[in-house]
Each structure stands twice: as structure tokens, then as C-alpha cells.
């Protein structure tokens, strides 16, 4: 059964407009910092998405900023009530992505809008696209900030869609980090490079919103099929012009080419998902362009990583947390939920649990830190079932009152990490070494019941009839809320 979904960015833009969550900017904006600054301020103020109709130097091109930087936009993208709560969106996401994967279907080139314009050879020039200078001080123009890169395993049919940032170097060259533990990193550095073979790639810019969600998600299911599960319908793909990869037919812009072994070029600095420019400028993976295809009047998508909240933080937190939920549930741990705070830049995950036995918090941390996704989790906070994991105030209260400053904290050293951690020293960044920590915010089961502190809250320390009386009379007392 197909859910309500938007087959392309254009339908999604209309949906945001219908929900008063879009600002259409008719006046010309400059791709050189102005557009980035607008998107940054939108992220920080949680404002409506900006839709740029006129870009300086690039007539005929448009841009769409902060496409999925709020839960409201995620709810709209999933065809849900825009006011759906985070637990409601989470449950719907888990329900849709727990069934059978939905295979994509192939469409003819003539039916694929992304083939309306085709540039090859000398015409395939990256500077003909309005790549924004996102932040002052970045190492270059980042054409790919909200996008995904398609790549295929050398020996199997495994295809990956992943968000790997790409900086424009020259007319034909992009460069960006491909971390060795990532899916594309394992394919390129593990298989293509040892054989000195270039790896075909296709960068998809301006995809439908659910393909973007899937590309962010750390699921083991191939992302195109995962998108199909979110849509309840197959994704329509079309073959690239210069390689054998397949891309969404309704995407705005496709950049095709090869990832080149044996050479690296300096990339960065860049304002990153942590809210800092952390990772050093250093030699990184090189992409050479062979073709660019695009729709008429293409719409470039622009995300702006920085202090919370941008779509990378929101969606990675959302999907990483829910992958951990699936993992912990699959192991029979009596959790009540998992929530990763977007404001933590997907570093802190809160796990709610019924503390059924001693050591349960350590067991949870061992599973989270032992998972394939562990570099993205630096802090696990385990709370009991009287704490609402979605309520930041309650989580902070539990952290500061239930977690013993010595016995409640367990450190995990020599963990895999990333060069993007702001807290890591230069040597740790260089070798992608991480550290992790568990905050156990459950009271020990060994304590006598009579010694357990009692939470003092409206819901907890008044008889039901008193609570009901107060709630019933609240407005007549004179309160407006």
C-alpha cells in the first residue's frame, strides 16, 4: 500500500507552501555567502524553508534551503499530520521500515525528467551549476550539501546511497572525505583502490525528500529499497549516461563520474555537523566528472551545517536512534524507547529502560558502542521508565540527579571515531580514534526500597483527586496556559 508521498522536490515544495512552511524569495540572492547565511539563520531560528527563485550569475536555476531541518517538515515528507509528535513520527518510521524491502523499478530515459538536459565532455562543467559558498572560510564551494552519492560494489550487486560532502575543486573535479568505515569507504578503499580501478559514482542533487531521509539512514537495507518502504511504493530509477549506475528519475541534477584511485587533493575546512569547523584541510578522495544531467529550471538543494538544528543533525539523530531501538529490541532488552537529541549533533543517545536487572545500562552501552554505527555515538544516557526520553528537561534532571558522578559513569577508550570530533586532539583526529561514555541514570536495584528517593512532581506526589481538581480549576484560578 502506498503511503502519501512526494515523488520529487517540486511536489514537496508545494506541500510546504500549503502548510505555511515555505518562504519564496523572489529577489536575487548571491550564491557567494548570502544564500548560505539565509539558510543558516533559518536553521538557527527554525524558520520556514527558503525557496530562492533568482540566483546571481545563474539565470534559470533555483535553490531550496533547509529542506528537512524540522520534525514538522519530516512529518510532511512522510505524508503525516504536520503536527505529529516525535514519538508518532518515530513509530510510523519503524513500522514502515520493518517490513519487506520494496525493489525499485526502471523507467525509460524519455520518462525521466532528470534527462531533460544532458551535458557531456567540455560542457560538463561544475561551475555552470550554482554551487554555493556556504560559509565564509570554507575550502571551496559545496555543490553537494543535501544530496547523495550512488556507488556500487566492485564484486557484488550491492549499491550504496550515502551523503558524502563534495567540494568543487575545478571544472571537472570534486573532492571530499570518505571515511574508511563508511559503506563507500569500504568499497572504494577496500576493493577499487587495491586494484587501481576508478569507481563509478553519481551524485544526486535535489532528490525527493524520502530518498534524502533514506540516504541519511544507517540501515543495512539498500537505500533505494528503504525509500520504497518509506513511500510504500517503488522508487523510479533511470540509468546514467556514462556509467552503469541508476539514479532517481525525478531528481533535479545528476553529476556522473569516477572516483579516482592513486591521487588525493586538499579538501576542507568546512562548517560541519558538529557546529564547528574541526576536521583539518587535508588530502581527500577525488571525484572526476564525466556528465551532468538536469531538469529544466533545476532546483539545487542547500543544507547548512552549523550549530543546531540542520537536517543532517535532525535526520541522522532520528534514524541513528531508531536503528539502535531496533537493535536493542532485537536483543530483548526491555527498553521503553530510544531518542537521540538533534541538539547533541547525534552524539548523545537517550535510552529509556525498565531496569529489570542489574547491569542493564552497561549491557545497553555495550550494544550501542559495539554496533557498526558506534563512531556516531559518543554518549549513552540510560534513564528509567519514569523519565520521558523526549523531554530534554526531564533527561537533564535525571542526568544530574540519578547518575552518580563516579559509579554511574563508565568510560570506553580506544574506540573507532571520526576526524570531525571537536573534542578530540589532533592525533586522535588524524587516526579517527574515539572515546565513549555511559551515563547510567537508573537507581541501583540493590538499594532497599525504603531508601529510594521519591520524585517530587505534580504527577507524582499528589493524590489523583487533588490533581484532577487543580487541573479542572486551572483557568478559573486565573492562569492563561
Amino acid at each position: 500500500m502506498a503511503y502519501k508521498f512526494y515523488k520529487d522536490n517540486r511536489e514537496f515544495i508545494e506541500a510546504l507552501k500549503a502548510n505555511n512552511d515555505l518562504v519564496t524569495i523572489e529577489q536575487e540572492v548571491d550564491w557567494d555567502l548570502e544564500m548560505g547565511a539565509i539558510v543558516r539563520r533559518v536553521c538557527e531560528k527554525k524558520s520556514a524553508s527558503p525557496y530562492f527563485k533568482r540566483i546571481k550569475d545563474y539565470p534559470g536555476f533555483e535553490a531550496f534551503g533547509a529542506p528537512l531541518s524540522t520534525y514538522k517538515r519530516l512529518a510532511i515528507a512522510m505524508g503525516m499530520n504536520p503536527d505529529a509528535s516525535v514519538p508518532e513520527i518515530s513509530n510510523e518510521y519503524v513500522k514502515r521500515t520493518t517490513g519487506d524491502p520494496i525493489k525499485s523499478i526502471l523507467v525509460d530515459k524519455k520518462k525521466a525528467p532528470c534527462k531533460e538536459n544532458i551535458w557531456t565532455g567540455k560542457d560538463a562543467d561544475l561551475f555552470k551549476l550554482p554551487g554555493p559558498m556556504v560559509h565564509d572560510g570554507d575550502g571551496g564551494r559545496y555543490l553537494a550539501t543535501w544530496h547523495f552519492v550512488v556507488s556500487k560494489d566492485l564484486d557484488t550487486e550491492f549499491v550504496n546511497w550515502g551523503m558524502y560532502r563534495q567540494m568543487v575543486f575545478d571544472e571537472k573535479t570534486m573532492v571530499g572525505p570518505v571515511l574508511p568505515f563508511s559503506d563507500m569507504g569500504k568499497m572504494f578503499y577496500g576493493k577499487y583502490v587495491p586494484k587501481n580501478k576508478p569507481m563509478p559514482f553519481a551524485t544526486v542533487i535535489g532528490c525527493d525528500p524520502l530518498s534524502g531521509v533514506a540516504a541519511c539512514a544507517p540501515s543495512p537495507i539498500p537505500e533505494d529499497e528503504f525509500t520504497g518502504m518509506l513511500m510504500g511504493a517503488p522508487v523510479e530509477l533511470v540509468k546514467c549516461e556514462t556509467n552503469d549506475l541508476y539514479v532517481p528519475a525525478y531528481a533535479e541534477i545528476i553529476i556522473e563520474g569516477e572516483v579516482i584511485p592513486g591521487i588525493q587533493i586538499d579538501e576542507a575546512p568546512f562548517g560541519e555537523y558538529t557546529g564547528y569547523r574541526t576536521s583539518p584541510r587535508e588530502p581527500r578522495t577525488v571525484y572526476r566528472v564525466t556528465a551532468i544531467t538536469f531538469r529544466n529550471n533545476p532546483i539545487v538543494t542547500v543544507s547548512n551545517m552549523g550549530v543546531p538544528t540542520d537536517e543532517g543533525q535532525l535526520l541522522r539523530s532520528f534514524s541513528l536512534g531508531l536503528e539502535m531501538r531496533k537493535l536493542l529490541e532485537s536483543q530483548g532488552i526491555p527498553i521503553t524507547g530510544v531518542y537521540m537529541l538533534p541538539e547533541s549533533t547525534h552524539h548523545l543517545v537517550v535510552v529509556g529502560v525498565r531496569p529489570a536487572y542489574s547491569g542493564i545500562a552497561s549491557q545497553i552501552a555495550n550494544l550501542v558502542f559495539g554496533s557498526k554505527l558506534s563512531p556516531w555515538f559518543t554518549m549513552v544516557v540510560v534513564v528509567d521508565n519514569e523519565t520521558d526520553i523526549y523531554n530534554k528537561d526531564e533527561v537533564i534532571h535525571a542526568l544530574c540527579t540519578k547518575c552518580h558522578p563516579i559509579r554511574g559513569i563508565r568510560k570506553y577508550e580506544q574506540a573507532p571515531g571520526t576526524p570531525l570530533y571537536p573534542f578530540a586532539d589532533p592525533e586522535e583526529r588524524k587516526w579517527s580514534r574515539g572515546s565513549q561514555v555511559l551515563f547510567d541514570c537508573t537507581f541501583p536495584l540493590s538499594w532497599p526500597k525504603s531508601d529510594l528517593p521519591i520524585k517530587v512532581s505534580f504527577n507524582n506526589v499528589y493524590p489523583k483527586e487533588v490533581q484532577e481538581k487543580v487541573l479542572k480549576n486551572w483557568k478559573s484560578y486565573g492562569f492563561k496556559d
Binding site: 572560510g137 571551496g140 568543487v168 575545478d170 571544472e171 591521487i263 587533493i265 584541510r281
Partner: protein, 85 residues
């Protein structure tokens, strides 16, 4: 001929950066004839000086995290180096 402007990222200690000798480096063009090509990077063989006036073109210096230095240096680009054949 009008002065051109470039910038580069320097990751070593600025005081120890060598001047007045040919070296290969990556620079970005800040004043291309076609503005769409602003920030185009390229490898160049060049001579540089911390003096703003020694060489014909201006070179702005940024540190590893993008910090722009207050005073520009100067650069003479001898040739662009193509790394991709």
C-alpha cells in the same frame, strides 16, 4: 594589467613559510573574468612574498580552519599545473 587576487590555505607556521622560491601550491582564483568561476582551485608553480607589493598579484592567506589573515601577501604565478593529464 589589473592586479589579480588569489587565496591559499597555509597549514604550517606562517613565520617559517618559505618566500621567494618556486614552489607548488594550491590557490583559488578570487577575481575570474567570469564570476561563476570564483573560488576555482588549481595547482600552480608560484613565487610568493609576505610583502604585499613584491609580486604582481595579491594573495590572501587563510589558516587550516579558514581563518583569514589581516594583511595580504603577494604572488607571481609561473604556471598552472595539471594533475589529471
Amino acid at each position: 594589467m589589473a592586479q589579480k587576487e588569489y587565496d591559499t590555505f597555509i597549514l604550517t607556521e606562517l613565520s617559517q613559510f618559505p618566500e621567494d622560491q618556486e614552489m607548488e601550491m594550491i590557490v583559488r582564483n578570487l577575481m575570474p573574468a567570469d564570476r561563476r568561476y570564483k573560488y576555482r582551485s588549481f595547482y600552480a608553480t608560484a613565487m610568493i612574498s609576505k610583502s604585499e607589493s613584491k609580486y604582481p598579484d595579491r594573495l590572501w592567506v587563510r589558516l587550516g580552519r579558514g581563518q583569514l589573515q589581516e594583511k595580504p601577501w603577494s604572488i607571481k604565478i609561473i604556471k598552472e599545473v595539471n594533475k589529471f593529464g
